[in-house]
Amino acid sequence: MAAAFTLESHGDYWAGRFTAMASPCEVLCDLDDEASARQLTELACAEAQRIEQKFSRYRDDNILYQINHSAGEPVAVDDETAALLDFAAQCYLLSDGKFDITSGILRRVWRFDGKNSFPTKEQIQALLGLIGWPKLTWQRPWLTLPADMELDFGGIGKEYAVDKTALILQRHTAASLLINFGGDLLATGPRRNGQGWLVGVEDPRRLGTQGGKRNTAKEFELVQGAIATSGDTQRYIMHKGVRYSHILNPRNGWPVRGAPRSVSVVAGTCTDAGILATLAMLQGKKAETFLAKQSVKFWCLR
Amino acid sequence: MLLRSIYKTSVLLALLALSACSFQPVQPWERDILAQKKMQLEPYPLDAALDEHTYFSKEASRGGAGVGGGGCGCN
């Protein structure tokens, strides 16, 4: 399928842009040759769309749909899905159950559109029975998901796509690349000028308020590694004057209290950075303490 | 005095050999407890070295646990 993307020269690098996973995506290639930049952007676009098609929960032709509509019957999954399931299991253990890919179902009652649609305790309680990684049976390659439960790779998908894309592109070029899928990004190494890529970390308090200016709180140079951000800048509920973040605790079904508005983490891979940012949000007030323990570079905006 | 030590050593070795009849050999996969740090003969080498140094400078005896280490004037 022909991918729709644009390619633009920025002097000493090329920027390929497209939309995937409902986010603006870009690939910055530190090279002069337009054909190479075009090929790399095509590859990136194809990989992003492949992952979106495979794991999007808005489609009815993919493995996720099969799983979520299996009505309690075992489904045989492919190796990539199996690896993601293994990884999700790992994250569940590492987070003491706070990171749970079965918790997406809570979206049925929590609508984070900034309005005051607030669920009742009974509504939440009813859903809690359908949440919990240990409730499903995962025996590679067989996954058995109890009826009415749902899996959602939304918490990992975009970051995973960034890492996967980077791996693919690096097989085709030695040039330095910056892959940015909706703010989750990865740089593959120093540029020809010996420097890194200049990256901005958003400040939610200034987002969209300053006309043509760049809405960034911090700019810094990323040579090699990834940054991912977890935040609730636009996704929250106001209820009786309290701002509820879209980060939900799968153990009680309620938004995490005291979480920062946004957390950005720098790590070796985008997946790592994304998981750490999400886990930090899930720590609520202890987000900074948690991240400090991980000895990673991070920004918390409250 | 050397003879006396050798005599004592042989008595202890004989005891060791005798007791060897009463112990069960431990299989390689049964060393979970023996592998713990606290079960080592010297789990805290710094404590042991500091003690050795203190008593070396306060008493007339030395040696036994191993070789190595350094000398000192120790007045």
């Binding site: 690896a83 990884f87 790992q90 994250c91 590492l94 987070s95 003491d96 995973y160 891979t269 997946t271 790592d272 998981i275 750490l276 202890k286 323990k293 991980q294 000895s295 990673v296 | 005095m1 030590s5 050593t9 202890l12 070795l13 060791l16 007791s19 060897a20 112990f23 050999p25 431990v26 060393r31 407890i33 023996l34 713990q36 079960m39 003969l41 805290y44 080498p45 710094l46 404590d47 070295a49 500091l50 140094h53 203190t54 008593y55 306060k58 008493e59 007339a60 005896s61 030395r62 040696g63 036994g64 646990a65 070789v67 190595g68 280490g69 350094g70 000398g71 000192c72 004037g73 007045n75």
Partner: protein, 441 residues
């Protein structure tokens, strides 16, 4: 054994899980994100004797896991000593005056007080490096080098240990050897054995080698050699029992005197005499220039539930006539999964060296080959009572505090006449406090 620590560091585990997810084919050395090759062990010990010396001793030990059972260990010690130490002379019912080791300063000692030389200030620096490597499937060897230096003493040593495992690793044979060459530079020159200590008013302590002269010799450099050989067996006695038996032979030769130790010369009433030389009743000590020693050492570790008992016993004897028995016990009492208490008891008893004399009769000076009044060569007991509190701070770090009291009681070799009015060898009480911190890095 579920460790409930939060928030806990998960970054490395996560990185490994991600590497698996992304199918990173990484080189094994780098893939093992969890490896913490450095073990850093630090301690600072403070030792304080009542009215005598105090020691402050920080230590750092760094051990690197070089992979494939190879280890490199580096230990650095700084040992700062200050305070007063007995000079060997006996307390008397009248005041005494002594010259310091350099001869230029003198110090008075009140009546009925044990003479302590107040001039002990020294800092010792020691460095110790070890390399451990396998030598075939069931053997490994450890090589060590050590160096230490203080104002008047340097030591350079090397050691090698070989371990052979057999009987399914239930038995280990250990053989070891070490050698050290030490160099002593007594302050004020090497005193001539049995020479009369210059009177404090006499000024410089230097002088010639000639016996009739002063106490000092201008040669500032004397040597001492120490060789040790070790043979040991370690035996696994069961899942919870480990014992070791070592035999150690050592030979020291060269300058074995303590250049700062004196002997009091008395008449048969027990009073200091000045007949040897005017106004100085003190002579320098003299020890044999070699010493052969043997030690038989055994230890046992046993686990009770999760507690661990460690017992050790040593029998020691040497050619100076010293015999000693040492019994040492540690009991590690687990308090939950994060804390432990470890009481420590140690009991030591030695017999006096053949040439130990609390004081000398003037008639003996000419007839004795060797003599020393160093209380450490006396008939003596040491009792240690200690307690350690340990805290497993995290998965890779551990802290500890240890407090011990050490009581030493020596017996005079004989008490002559009026010496019975004195406490010739008062009990020495010391307190030791040690802080430990160990972490993986």
């Amino acid at each position: 054994m579920q460790l409930k620590t939060k928030p806990k560091p998960i970054r490395k585990t996560l990185a490994m899980a991600t590497a698996t997810l992304l199918g990173h084919v990484t080189h094994i050395g780098t893939a093992n994100a969890e490896s913490n090759p450095w073990e850093i062990d630090t301690a600072v010990m403070s030792y304080q004797e009542n009215g005598r010396v105090s020691v402050l001793e920080p230590v750092i030990r760094m051990r690197e896991d070089k992979g494939d059972d190879k280890f490199f260990t580096l230990k650095l010690v700084v040992d700062t000593l200050s305070g007063a130490s007995p000079n060997g002379a006996i307390p008397t019912n009248s005041p005494q005056t002594f010259s310091g080791p350099s001869g230029s300063s003198s110090y008075p000692i009140a009546a009925n007080t044990v003479p302590l030389d107040p001039n002990f200030h020294d800092t010792r620096y020691a460095i110790n490096a070890e390399w451990e490597q396998p030598a075939g499937d069931a053997r490994h060897s450890i090589y060590g080098l050590s160096f230490s230096t203080e104002t008047d003493y340097q030591s350079l040593g090397a050691s090698a240990t070989y371990n052979f495992d057999f009987n399914n690793k239930n038995t280990t044979l250990t053989t070891g050897a070490s050698f050290s060459g030490d160099s002593v530079q007594p302050l004020g020159g090497k005193p001539v054995a049995f020479a009369v200590v210059p009177a404090s008013t006499g000024g410089g302590g230097g002088g010639g080698e000639d016996e009739g002269g002063g106490g000092g010799e201008t040669s500032f450099h004397v040597n001492k050699r120490v060789v040790d050989l070790l043979l040991g067996v370690t035996q696994v006695m069961g899942r919870k029992d480990l014992i070791q038996l070592n035999f150690n032979y050592g030979k020291e030769s060269g300058y074995l005197n303590d250049p700062y130790k004196l002997l009091s010369v008395v008449d048969n009433t027990g009073a200091l005499i000045t007949a040897v030389a005017p106004d100085s009743p003190y002579i320098y000590e003299k020890r044999p220039d070699s010493r052969n020693r043997t030690a038989l050492y055994s230890r046992w570790s046993h686990q009770f539930g999760s507690d661990v008992l460690r017992l050790s016993y040593r029998y020691y004897s040497d050619s100076w006539g010293i015999r000693s028995n040492t019994l040492d016990m540690h009991y590690r009492l687990e308090l939950g999964e994060r804390f432990f208490l470890e009481p420590h008891l140690r009991s030591y008893k030695q017999t006096a060296a053949d040439f130990y004399h609390t004081s000398l009769l003037n008639t003996e000076v000419a007839t004795l080959d060797y003599a020393s009044a160093d209380y450490r060569l006396a008939d003596m007991t040491t009792k240690t009572v200690g307690l350690k509190f340990g805290w497993l701070v995290g998965k890779h770090s551990e802290a500890g505090i240890r407090v011990e009291t050490i009581t030493q009681q020596a017996q005079p070799s004989r008490v002559i006449g009026i010496q019975s009015q004195q406490d010739l060898l008062p009990t020495v009480k010391a307190t030791m406090v040690q802080l430990n911190y160990r972490f993986l890095f």
